[in-house]
Subunit: 338 residues, 4 copies
């Protein structure tokens, strides 16, 4: 169990792993075997290791199936492994990504063990094309671990939401927020513990009265408590998850997980990762109206939002995307470059 | 907004609906149209109506597609509606249910609006074959509504978990549990509200300091707060949900929803409901070893768990299922009826 | 059953519907009922009607759930119907489409009865997020109906595949292809019929020998025979299907179905259709490298494929997209507009 | 390419693999690597090997993820591997299977390369919870390989369908069926080849006229031609597939695949296989009415179909299941054992 001190958001993330768990992980890592399967040394390096996220969370790769060559192998329905020429493999993977041929990417699979705050788990689970086994608060006792955001994130997220008002939280105000969250979480856990009235071995602690069921007591915990699950998905759906959750519009806390998972993606299937970055993460979806505007600009014709039927906010997004500030008085007009 | 009093678990469930919402619902109910589609008068009767569950929750049928005849129509890939002979339809539906021909049941669809505590929502969402739109605590302010279990449920769930110890909560102890849950929920909401520092119109309330982002503040709320969602699924998956969640082993709170939904099923597709009750809810899955035991008993041969390779707990389950108490000294032996 | 003449690809498509089936459809259309559900008059107009596709195929809308307002209603998790202001609804639907908020579109559902050649069915079924009930060739006798492509499509598809060679099929050659396909299909059906040795009532026709099982005999039929199924999907997945299958790269035969279904989409949810046309059908996905090229061109800087790391084929696609022919000698260089 | 002789159903199955393909497979099998992942030696033994099915089909295990211990590990959301005590693992796996806790089984994944007749592929694909990459007849030329059933299967399937008529096909009649199927398949391939007018290298063969597109020509092939695909699914869905397709009611041809896959299951996860055989394959689902009948019989009370509201066919199924012939005059009455 992490101690009070460990909750201090200023401390280094600890991955929320106890010594006993570390020993289990070390033992799992020590066992190796010969296999004929596609194997990825760069991913084997971090296999089972908890990669820390937020103050007490982690992502651990527990298993994987396939590699870049397996994408090629599936696309070709081949008898052997993928091609041996690396350039061809990258070219085919780019082609598949560009043209939304998603099924070959579904032929690789990854299994993660994730420890995450409940409110993050609730966003995460919306991605339905995955297999999940969550730690059961119905049958097991929850650990006393909860998430407290760092002061810079409290301030940053606050200012994003109140754009233009010019006021962000001071350091002292952010500290006050942390205190309040921590006090409430500690009290809610203490009462959870009191309601259970159980020793760690599952016996009744205070003989004077029976505890209540674990499935009921858990409702007193707040949404920043950590839960954990095994989560398994295929490469296509992993990238779909990352496209939405590694995005600047995603909430910081789930993005922190997505960032670690993007690094895992790079270790696992570097070619698919490269294509993903080019066509998805860094790419852009432009509407028919937007394409019309781009074409006119490239022909050196003046154009504005109204002319192509775009709303002001769409127009601003487009201008940002193509590296045009909106000029002068008319905020929704773009003139050809001088 | 529900008042303090409304939280009293002794009061009648109120469905947690405000007057303004009731007016909206009434208006929606008042509008009717002509349609050529399959229509189910018994379900239309309750369309849009909030059917109360727990202290402030509800289930509302918002839309539906298909009826019993549509199952038959799909099974036959027919040009018209289902058959006109009701007896044939029931017979075919029974046959489909018995032989796990699930696809014709997938041809009917229902859409519900559900208000439910977050810890129930977390169990519910494990059923992935459904479409969900949840009220967003990232962008909207949560209501001050939380679930407090009735004292009889606190006691009942407690005693189930501690079978054999002979001690259940007294009424006074259950009251103490309710008080503790309520106090924590109220405090967590008050702090949530303070962290937001927003008026209902979304303006800054206390000008002295900025509030924090809604997406962050929500983490202070506990798992008994109510959320709501639109949930849409097909008839097959609805029945799968009900088989697991209307079961005696399901947690009381989700079972309360499943019970109301079973009534909805009966209104919607009475024939499918009848087959569901016979083959799924009331039926039994018996293992190969269990069938061997049953056959021996029916041949008047003595048999015990060991003889067919069953574990003691499996044996007890089987005996309960076939209406046999385990007799005399040997708890895992069944003798033929005298 | 359609006669030999009906197979002539020069005849008007007949929807492959017998008189008895037409009567069934007319009867289904004649029945109407009052409903409180969202109802779409423009879609009710064609409800149950077979909309002809290819020589003997069709698409029939058999049922639907929801309308444009239901998308809005789900996005807002509202108590009433969607908003009353049409402009707001379109704006919200555009926003959802632009930002890949797909779940509100999943709240509308449509059920189609489709008659289609088996080779088209095999492409179609790759879209897994749908419910399907297919006419069973295991238990039922297949009809003697098969697809023969029109001569212009034989020629067109031929020339596409052999771009640059400059030779397309002559009318006479296309006629020969049709003859050959027809002869083989007719023979394969005649032998299928012989293998079954059954009267339409299911009795043995030639008493001299038993027929073989339907499930076996069907293997002699070719892939252009028509099958039929009930197919049900939600609005989001329908649009995903249409994006891929109404595309110029899709095979003509499945595109013919997608085109009819796009018309159905327009009748059903005109606002979602409008957003779909702007952001999906007519929109473009541009890679990070492609965006870099566009930005440079807009700054009046010369740029070529190599400079941004694009392959020649990617570059050609991009130039076509932004309305630039590649100029002069260097096929992979674009110069700013003059 | 297999020769004419290879099509003789009397010859040993050849797995339909060419020498070049065998060499590719041997090369893939020769490469091994060290891994920290869960590894199953019994499955590694057959990895990549084509296991023959029908006359020219096969199933090859191409990759896998997880083992029995991984089921346990996921059920416990543990940090290390599964338990070390084998007895506990089997007990937990039995418990999970018995109580339909399906998610831990979803944590294991397998990828197969399957060569199968198109009409089998059409049944197979109805199982939607899997990933598929099929050999493309749109872009590639199909091989000249088709399925001809053995004479004993033609006879057996015929007699099953015509129960009671007492006439099965003679050996000569079955031979005639084979001839007819073979002649039609050969002609359809010859015409396919003529329509393509391509050399194996993709050049125009007869310069006198252009061929037609591959995507069009394929429609002339019959449903017994072999196709192939990569098919990937999780352990839960694999067992669901096997429960339905290894069943006596499944068509012989798909059952032949399911049987080989059941052997693979046994190699891969012997404990899950044991539980599957006991609770699914060998188990029985009995309706509420059926259980009522069983209970009455065990209490030595006479009971008949009508008394418990079962249809005659349901009653017969139940009596067969519990090892009771229906006695004497009243076919739908069971008397207690004497």
């Amino acid at each position: 169990m992490t101690t009070m001190e460990a909750h201090d958001p200023a401390t280094t993330p600890d991955g929320g792993v106890t010594d006993a768990q570390r020993a289990e992980i070390a033992e799992a890592r020590a066992q190796t075997a010969q296999t004929r399967r596609a194997t990825v040394p760069a991913l084997e390096e971090v296999l089972y290791e908890p990669l820390p996220v937020l103050d007490h969370g982690f992502v651990r790769v527990v298993d994987y199936m396939g590699d870049d060559a397996a994408i090629v192998q599936a696309a070709r329905v081949s008898y052997g492994r993928g091609t041996k020429r690396q350039r061809d493999d990258q070219g085919l993977i780019n082609y598949l990504m560009r043209n939304w041929h998603t099924s070959p990417f579904e032929m690789c699979e990854i299994k993660l063990h994730v420890k995450l705050p409940i409110f993050v788990a609730r966003q995460w689970i919306r991605h339905r094309t995955a297999n999940v086994n969550e730690y059961s608060a119905r049958y097991s006792i929850m650990d006393n671990e909860f998430y407290i955001p760092r002061s810079e994130h409290i301030a940053a997220q606050s200012s994003v939401n109140r754009q233009g008002r010019g006021d962000t939280l001071t350091e002292a105000e952010a500290r006050r927020v942390q205190e309040l969250l921590r006090e409430d979480a500690e009290r809610s856990y203490a009462h959870y513990d009191e309601l259970l009235n159980e020793t760690p071995e599952g016996d009744q602690r205070d003989p004077a009265y029976p505890g209540i069921a674990r499935e009921l007591a858990r409702m007193n915990l707040s949404l920043n408590f950590y839960t954990q699950w095994y989560w398994k998905t295929d490469l296509h759906n992993l990238m779909h998850f990352l496209r939405l959750r590694a995005d600047a519009h995603a909430q910081y806390e789930i993005r922190a997980y997505a960032d670690v998972m993007t690094d895992i993606l790079e270790r696992w299937t570097p070619m698919a990762h490269r294509a993903f970055v080019d066509y998805r993460l860094g790419g852009a979806q432009i509407s028919a109206k937007g394409m019309e505007a781009v074409r006119r600009l490239l022909r050196n014709e003046p154009v504005n939002a109204k002319a192509v039927g775009m709303s002001p906010s769409e127009w601003r997004e487009l201008m940002a995307l193509i590296g045009r500030g909106t000029t002068g008085g008319a905020a929704d007009t773009a003139t050809p470059a001088e």
